[in-house]
Amino acid sequence: MIQTSTKNEIVRYLYQETTEEENASIENDLIFNEEARNLYIELASVKRSLNKGFKNPGKRVIDNILNYSKSLNLRSA
């Protein structure tokens, strides 16, 4: 069973907050420790899903803000 500290390192590694030294150690764990590897795969798959799940605002809102920005140029011209 992997330690909590290792599990937390995997989360830091997933979010690229580890040093190069730490990466070498973690990647060694991922190669030789099946439990660590399975945890990483599970967390990484959810992270990928989260990255695909952003909600888009309506075009009206974007157009409003772009027009607002341009209007400030006209006022100061």
């Binding site: 937390n8 599970e42 959810v46 695909k52 605002p57 607002y68 920005s69």
Partner: protein, 199 residues
């Protein structure tokens, strides 16, 4: 060949010098992340859009008045503004219901519930929307860390300081948030096939 994107720092500098196209690029690049961050807090599409607009107006005003000095940290700055506006709105809305029903409950709460039901019915048809719903169902400490790390791109150290816990507690909450989301996705047959998702 993929066109090399200009960095946020370069785009902000161009925008400061009057290049509106640079600002449009910044908006197109980041609006979904900013909007989703707000939406996860206020849980209402239209309110989230209004707050997104308020956020970006503040951004425009700050940059155009020469007060921007975030030095290469454009997105974290914008997300802080968005987060603060969303939290302020959420607290005000909970504290000051506009109409009180005969039984003493807030019609705002009722409307919110109704809107959520209609929203829930709509978003259940969308995989991405289902995932956002699972996020809302997370225990609050886990949802908070997830929001701050994944959407607002704060470091785990910053999250620990902001929430008053140790970094290991923040990391543990994040780990459980991701594991719980995975359980929900598996339980509800949310497919991981990347071909289902558009780039």
């Amino acid at each position: 060949m993929k066109k090399q994107e200009l960095s946020d720092s370069v785009l902000v500098t161009l925008y400061k010098n009057g290049n509106e196209d640079a600002f449009a690029q910044l908006v197109n690049k980041h609006s979904s992340r900013i909007y989703t961050t707000i939406y996860l807090i206020v849980k209402d599409t239209y309110i989230a859009e209004d707050l997104l607009q308020d956020t970006l107006i503040k951004v425009v005003d700050t940059i155009k008045s020469g007060r921007y000095n975030e030095e290469g940290k454009f997105l974290p700055w914008v997300l802080r503004i968005a987060h603060n506006l969303a939290i302020d709105y959420f607290r005000r809305a909970k504290r000051y219901p506009t109409i009180i029903m005969e039984d003493g409950s807030s019609v705002f709460n009722t409307l919110q519930f109704s809107e959520d039901s209609i929203e829930s019915q709509r978003i259940q048809r969308e995989t991405h929307a289902s995932l956002r719903e699972f996020i809302q169902q997370l225990p609050e400490p886990q949802k908070e860390v997830l929001l701050m790390r994944h959407y607002m791109q704060m470091s785990f150290q910053e999250i620990a300081e902001a929430t008053g816990v140790s970094i290991n507690t923040a990391l543990g909450r994040m780990r459980y948030a991701l594991i719980n989301l995975r359980k929900q996705m598996t339980k509800n047959n949310i497919n991981y096939d990347p071909n289902l998702y558009q780039e």
